[in-house]
Each structure stands twice: as C-alpha cells, then as structure tokens.
Symmetry: C2
C-alpha cells in the first residue's frame, strides 16, 4: 500500500477544487489500494456564488476542502515529502487562485511556498506528481527548467502561456492523459473542456491515477 | 436518451448532499447516456463547518448544490414529473435536514412538499426512483403504505425506525444495492457505512444507477 497525498484548493470549480475531478481522483486512488491523505492551505478567500457566478462571502480553503474529504484533512503546511510516495493536484480554479496566482499572472505567477517546496522535493526524490485540469499550469511554473511535457487540453492561449515556463504542452482528449516519464509527471485535462461529460472526466483521471500509482 | 432528475440537498455530507455519492451518481448517469438535470430547494440553512464539526455560517441549499453541478441547477419547485423518466436522490445529511426533517423526527417526519409530491407522482406514473444512503428514509415516509423494500445499510436502529413507516428494510453491503421491482425503487447504502472506501461507494451507486436507468 502506497501513501498518497492529495492537495485540495477548496470545494467548487469557480473558487476551489473541482468537485468531480477531486472525487474521481479519490475513487481511483481507493480502487488502486492507496492510503490517501488530503491536504489544503489554511487561508481565507472571497468565495464565488456558484449559482449566480457573483462574488460571495468570505470562506476558508481547508474548511471548504473538508467537505470533499468528509472532514479528514490536514493543513498543507504539514505535508512532508518523506511521508508520501506521490502527490496529486486536482484542478478547479482554486489551483490558480489559492495554490498560485496563475489566474492573475499566468506564466509569471508565484506559487504558494508550500506547493513550490513540495513539488520541488517530490521531483528531486523522483516520486510521481499527478496534476489535473489547470493544476499543470502551476507545476510548469515550478518545473519549467526541467522542460516537462504536460497537458491542459487543447486551448492554444493557455498552452502558449504554459510554454513560456519552459514546459512543452501536448494536446490531449478529455478521457486521456499524458505521461512525462523523465519527470514522473502525469497530467489529464478534465474540465479544461468546460462542457465535458462526467464519465469521460472520470475515465481520463482514472487512467492518469493508475499510471501515477504504478510509478509511485 | 432518457431524461433524469437529480435532487441535491446542498454540498457536503454534514449539512448537504454527500459529495462522493452525488458525483458517483452523475458519473454513472453520464456513462449510461442520460440527459441529466440537477435540482435543489431554494432555502437558507445554518451550515456545519466540515473541518471542526461546529456550527457555521448561513448558506443557501441551491447555491451550495450548484458547486456539485457546476452551476447547472434549477429550483426544486420547478421539477415536474412529466418532464423526466426517473429521479435520483443522493444521500448526505441534507436529505434529513432540508428535504425532510427525518434528522429530528425520524419515522414521524414531514417531507418537503415538493419532494412529497414528486415521489408520489413518479411512483404513480411507474417511473423509477433511486435513493442513496439516508435518502431512502424519507422515501419510506412517503411510500410506506406501499410497503417498499429498501436499504440504509446495516444499522439496526435506523432500520427499525424506517420499518415504522410500513417499509421493509434489507441489509445491504456498501458495494451493492436493493431493487424493489414492484415500486420501482432502487436503493444503495453508500456512506451509511461512515468509513466506506470511495471506490466501493462508487461501485454500489453505479450498480444502482444502471439498474435504475434500465427501468426508466
């Protein structure tokens, strides 16, 4: 049984972790036999009302992420690479808002210091990293110098932005994934295709997680 | 392609729809080829902080449910039986708080007037109803006179409470489901087993939804 860390960025695609992506990853990890622990940053944010799309109330990332993980969650600051065999980053706009400021700055973004340190340490230890949807963008910011191959789907503008970091973008269907064996980086586009069917999102993520778990 | 309504009661197992159950049902419906529409009641409630378990801020059921359905959601009051071939109720404590007051009253509970009317009309029209986790309890309150067979897992106290309505409870493993062909009622226990593994919850729900969709 391998120990896997999952980094959530809230609960809901507009201001947190994409819910179907997070659940798909947790189902696939459970099926693979993983011992999974969820983490999230303990920071406040301005929520988005998912019915109206308008700004909402003030919330806290780890408290919202705990909804997905049924209360079992630890602060991201306590995630230590040496305790885990691999790490998974589901997508959702929270990855571009709370784990980095990619939403505002693109390829010039800053990545949360905990995320930066753990991506570097997992990479250095040759432990696999899985990243879904928009999450590969912030990974490219950290690992760009290692020229990782990754996907965010087929959007030319985002692909061009990612390539400014030194990463190489590959187009990928929603139900598929990309493996960079050299960097042990596995990515799947998921809801970068905004109108994707849930079972195809699940299929792509399940494939990515099976590959990831074999490499862990 | 059959039209299926999914009734959500928020977003999070302590005060809303159980997230893994809701997503599992949506993935399985997508895989089956369903044309799915989510609904939720437009009502305010006192939330529960899922990290601490303590009372939280005031929220709105349909606004929170919209996080699961990526913004595509309609008020429960607009759900008409004649527009759909079947209806699914995921679990989570929201079903016992916002769709009924089962949490407080058990077998003597009142069921939300929209839920009451639509369960009666789907049943009368011989269209299937799928209910997960604790949701079968409120169904038993509506359909008890028809002596439905259903499950909430293997908890004797809840099973005894359900049987006060006239329903018959059957024990069921987390990865399985119960079909009442006479009443076209399909139930799966899911997170009534509180420490269940996500892939077994998914397996039980996927089986239930496949059976449900065939009957629709």
């Amino acid at each position: 049984m391998k120990k896997i860390a999952v980094v959530l960025s809230g609960c809901g695609f507009q201001d947190g972790a994409e819910i179907t992506e997070s659940v798909s990853a947790l189902i696939a990890l459970s099926e693979a036999g993983a011992d999974t622990q969820c983490f999230a940053p303990d920071l406040n944010f301005k929520s988005t009302n998912h019915r109206s799309g308008q700004p909402g109330d003030e919330r806290n990332v780890i408290e919202e992420a705990a909804r997905i993980s049924r209360g079992h969650i630890q602060p991201l600051s306590e995630l230590k690479e040496q305790d885990f065999d691999g790490v998974v980053f589901p997508g959702g706009f929270g990855a571009a808002l709370h784990l980095s400021n990619w939403a505002e700055k693109g390829a010039d973004c800053s990545v949360d210091e905990n995320v930066q340190a753990l991506v570097e340490s997992f990479h250095k230890a040759s432990k696999p990293i899985a990243a879904l949807c928009i999450a590969p963008a912030m990974i490219s910011r950290v690992l760009g110098d290692h020229n990782p191959s990754l996907t965010i789907g087929n959007d030319p503008a985002t692909a061009a932005e990612i390539e400014k970091t030194g990463a190489q973008h590959e187009n990928c269907a929603v139900d598929d994934y990309i493996t960079d064996r050299m960097n042990k980086l596995i990515t799947s586009p998921a809801y970068m295709y905004g109108d994707a069917k849930p079972h195809l999102v699940y299929k792509g993520i399940r494939g990515a997680i099976r590959e990831f778990y074999e490499m862990a």
